[in-house]
Symmetry: C2
Subunit: 85 residues, 2 copies
Amino acid sequence: AGDKANGRTLVYTCNGCHGVPGTNNAYPQYPVPKIAGQNAQYIISALHEYKSGDRTHPTMMAQGQSLSDQEIEDIAAYLSSISPK
Amino acid sequence: AGDKANGRTLVYTCNGCHGVPGTNNAYPQYPVPKIAGQNAQYIISALHEYKSGDRTHPTMMAQGQSLSDQEIEDIAAYLSSISPK
């Protein structure tokens, strides 16, 4: 199971893009998705897809590759525990 | 720009999976993502990625292929206008 406290620390990185309303993806240009309150298992699935390259996005693939399976679970446990914004 | 009223009609289909808390994707098994209140441009980007096959998910690719560009904008206008759940 994910460790929410560790996830809270790890999402410091995510907030650089996902925590700022209206922050745009570089190309193609669109606001990055909201992730607060998202389903834990969907977050886990998405991060593993980026890590494996099944889902392609340069920044998110790099993030996925930098995370262990446990860290991905920790991030999902934290994000799914907070309210959507 | 998207037509919220038409989007509201179109999301009837989405709600079969996305509108029911805890509904699982078939394989790999995980809860489908929450989409209410998501950023409009992210929804547009995701549906176009499914439509083109850049993002692969059998059900969502079929949905993307069934939608016109205008219908995708309508869905995004509606979903981004409602509160996250």
